[in-house]
């Protein structure tokens, strides 16, 4: 990497592929597997070695009606639960596709070797998870979440990596993607990326570019997310002029370990664990008389926050809740939840078979993202009209297809990423096989995608990325958390407006070429900032309470005004509305009703 002069698009070496996938997590590697197996020249660009991706941290399972626990189970029941869980702004065509295609995707994973836990009948073990019911909510709790102990994400990610090795996927491991290359016809024609080890920069050119960069939980001070979850794909899409959808919808997982933020799976409550306040009361019985601790995550997180606000939290500052598992006996705890046992001992100093785990609602998942259709094609929208962005796809947490709407059900993220990673792969394979030419980009198109890199490399003074990031995370935590209020959000937005100039003028002190992690952290901070600002502005615009978006000043759901997706463009910081899909192909649409658990 030359840092003493401006890097020009015309000087860059080019690498060409049929399809590139940015991100080596579950969605990315499911898409790449599909493409590589079809014989297309496919590359995965991943800023970390693929098995270090955040999918590895998923614990409890992957929800899908494979009819192992209950032979009568039906994907339509799973669809009903998911629509209800989304607080009715999940797109029903997409949810239908996910729930129906799901079993195929799960059996494929098993055939690849995924080490699922098993039942005595030799089938895949399924456990109860929040918000899952039988018979459209009328048949009680369902056990529908397929599990590999409490290491389901780890098992899934490693299995996909193994399958990609077998299929001969090209891995550009430890490569960092900076920005999309967009040509004059607004077609995405690849990405600017650099090899982290050498610092060498490339234009990676492709017929199809898939964003599978995962979430951005690091916009909050307290999160279950890996340090690498910096919303790189969201940043790239917004800067290229594409919108994000429902980005104000952030899931706070009920059980992050108090202090550390590390995740404790909902599977703990699925296996019979429950939450207690400082009086030892199982308080969820008051908030959700039927589902209790297995109500949907937004409901449980809010109930916990209320217990804390009302002074019934644990500890000298009454600031956390406890999760009881000891009554299950060491057999269940150590056999079904071995990973949780390890994490609790390491990060909370307790053995959950003996003592309850201190927990607190913690930022966990980005329901919003880049809008796509069920084929993973990115959608842009102007004055109520959707259009397809040529050459660009998104899948997994970075995408908003949307199957999670205002609130994701536990176990549905892993299903989302395999089903839609696979769907994008299938669609791209078909498209390319029908004949797509590699589109050209001009030198100035490439220069544009290089501008952030050049500015950073040329910086002689400016702001420190980690400081701006820290202030942003505290701001988001304070003003855009479990409960939201207009005046506080406006303060938060003002703070972000003031920081905008700073994030665009970072000072990179270390300009070296070899494995320079400071350079990466600067880019990541800029990406996070895009996500934070989009979240803040959109959250303030959605004047209702729905799913994970709970406003003190607008406590009710407003279906008249807001049974809609929000759409945000960063160019003019505008928020508009987009219709929710109520047209599933095989079943009648589920109409919004009051949501109780």
């Amino acid at each position: 990497m030359k840092v003493d002069e401006i890097i020009k698009g015309s000087d860059l070496p080019v690498k060409e592929f049929d399809g590139i996938i940015i991100g080596g997590g579950g969605a990315g590697m499911r898409a790449s597997l599909q493409l590589a197996e079809s014989g297309l020249n496919t590359a995965v660009i991943s800023k970390v070695f693929p098995t270090r991706s955040h999918t590895v941290s998923a614990q409890g399972g992957i929800t899908c009606a494979i009819a192992s626990d209950d032979p009568e189970d039906d994907w339509r029941w799973h669809m009903f639960d998911t629509v209800k869980g989304s607080d009715y702004i999940g797109d029903q065509d997409a949810i239908e596709y996910m729930c129906q295609e799901g079993p195929k995707a799960i059996f494929e994973l098993e055939h690849m070797g995924m080490p699922f836990s098993r039942t005595d009948e030799g089938r895949i073990y399924q456990r109860p998870f929040g918000g899952q019911s039988k018979d459209y909510g009328k048949g009680g709790q369902a056990s529908r979440t397929c599990a590999a102990a409490d290491r389901t994400g780890h098992s899934l990610l490693h299995t996909l990596y193994q399958a990609n090795l077998k299929a001969g996927t090209n891995f550009l491991n430890e490569w960092f993607a900076i920005d999309l290359v967009l040509n004059a016809n607004n077609v995405v024609v690849g990405v600017i990326a650099f090899e982290i080890e050498s610092g060498e920069i490339f234009y990676v050119k492709s017929k199809a570019t898939v964003l599978a960069t995962g979430g951005a939980g690091r916009i909050y001070a307290s999160t279950t997310n890996a340090l690498i979850n910096s919303g790189d794909g969201i940043g790239m899409a917004l800067r290229a002029g594409f919108p994000v959808q429902d980005i104000e919808m952030w899931q706070f997982h009920p059980t992050g370990i108090y202090g550390a933020g590390t995740l404790v799976t909902e599977g703990c409550r699925g296996e019979g664990g429950y939450l207690i306040n400082k009086d030892g009361e199982r308080f969820m019985e008051r908030y959700a008389p039927n589902a209790k601790d297995l109500a949907s995550r937004d409901v449980v997180a809010r109930s916990m926050a209320l217990e804390i606000i009302e002074g019934r939290g644990w500890g000298p500052d009454s600031d956390h809740i406890k999760l009881r598992l000891d009554h299950l006996g060491p057999g269940v705890v150590h056999k079904r939840l071995p990973g949780i046992t390890e994490l609790s001992k390491t990060f909370a100093g307790v053995d959950p078979a003996v003592e309850p785990i201190p927990v607190v609602p913690t930022c966990h998942y980005m329901m919003g993202g880049i809008p796509t259709n069920v084929h993973g094609q990115v959608i842009s929208t102007k004055s109520g009209k959707d259009s397809i962005v040529e050459g660009l796809y998104a899948a997994g947490e970075v995408a908003c297809v949307s199957v999670h709407g205002g609130n994701r059900l536990g176990g549905n993220s892993l299903l989302d990423l395999v089903v839609f990673g696979r769907a994008a792969g299938i669609f791209i394979e078909d498209t390319i096989k029908q004949g797509v030419d590699l589109m050209e980009a001009s030198d100035s198109d490439i220069d544009k995608a290089l501008s952030r890199l050049n500015k950073l490399n040329q910086s002689k003074e400016g702001y420190q990325a980690h400081k701006i990031k820290k202030a942003m995370q505290d701001n988001m935590q304070m003003n855009f958390g479990v409960f939201r209020r207009g005046d506080l959000m406006e303060n938060g937005i003002k703070e972000l407006e003031q920081a905008r100039e700073q994030i665009e003028n970072l000072y990179l002190e270390d300009k070296s070429a070899t494995f320079n992690t400071s350079r990466i952290e600067a880019f990541e901070a800029q990406n996070l900032f895009e996500v934070a600002e989009a979240t803040a502005i959109t959250a303030n615009e959605r004047k209702e309470s729905r799913g994970a978006h709970a406003r003190d000043d607008y406590p009710d759901r407003d279906d008249e005004e807001w049974l809609k997706h929000s759409i945000y463009f960063s160019e003019d910081k505008s928020v508009s509305k987009r219709e929710v899909n109520f047209k599933p192909k095989q079943v009648q649409a589920f109409q919004p009703i009051e949501r109780t658990y």
């Binding site: 270090r52 089938r123 090795l165 077998k166 080890e197 340090l227 990973g339 070899t514």
Partner: protein, 246 residues
């Protein structure tokens, strides 16, 4: 928490960190960076590295999940390999000092970052994926809980490299001896009731180096941050080869 020393005593910790940037350093050196650890708070070694990076922004290390499941931050902590993110300072800081070096036995790219190519090349040699020949059923392949239990202690490997880079046999022959991590994966698939390539897998291991260079030193077992036992996996493969001969 199993604190070796009371937490309130930790305030200033002197980190001695291996530094090397090939673009500007002729040879590696140890840099001393003093960090302030908040009183009454136990930090992980990874948190200490983040504090050090605020002081010395050019310091480079890998990290991702910060909870011991992704395997990014394997390093040599006071002479023993481990994961920075799940090693509490209270367990390793001695006399307010802590020494951090890259994992031994692999080329250093920069600072605490090693080139893992050799490690992954060896992994790929064992064909670390399920191989089946029979047609797959419509649903999942059947496996009993007992058959599945055979994979416990094997599938949990996070590919951090702590074991192989603490193994003298791997240091001497990193291109010929597969190393504990790859061999654990090899056994993971041999032990899988669904895999249909046991014979080929065993054939591939039957030379003087791939497997038999393991001398049972067991460093791999003592450093594995996930509590896995590669030595046992290796001896299981040996037994399988022996029974096959007989």
């Amino acid at each position: 928490m199993s604190a070796a020393i009371p937490l309130e005593e930790i305030k200033l910790v002197k980190l001695s960190i291996y530094r090397f940037d090939p673009n500007q350093d002729k040879k590696p050196y140890m840099q001393s960076i003093e960090i302030e650890v908040p009183a009454n708070k136990d930090l992980m070694v990874l948190d200490a590295l983040h504090l050090a990076k605020e002081i010395e922004p050019s310091l480079s290390f890998r990290r991702s999940c910060r909870e011991g499941v992704c395997g990014s931050d394997g390093m040599n902590i006071n002479g023993k390999n481990g994961l920075a993110c799940i090693t509490p300072l209270s367990e390793v800081v001695k006399k307010d000092k802590l020494t951090l070096r890259p994992m031994p036995g692999l080329p250093v790219i920069r600072d605490l970052i090693v080139d893992m190519k050799q490690f992954f090349d060896q992994l790929e040699k064992v064909q670390p994926y399920l191989i089946t020949k029979s047609a797959a059923p419509e649903i999942e392949r059947s496996q009993t809980p007992e058959e599945r239990e055979e994979l416990d202690g094997l599938y949990e490997c996070i590919l951090c490299g702590c074991c192989s880079t603490s193994c003298p046999s791997f240091w001497w022959n990193p291109d010929k001896f597969l190393g504990p991590a790859a061999l654990l994966q090899s056994w993971r698939f041999i032990a899988d009731s669904r895999d249909e390539a046991t014979e080929e897998r065993l054939d591939d291991l039957e030379d003087a180096f791939s497997l038999y260079r393991c001398h049972g030193i067991m460093n791999c077992v003592s450093v594995c941050p996930k509590g896995l036992n590669p030595t046992e996996a290796i001896s299981n493969i040996r037994n399988k080869l022996l029974t096959r001969k007989n």
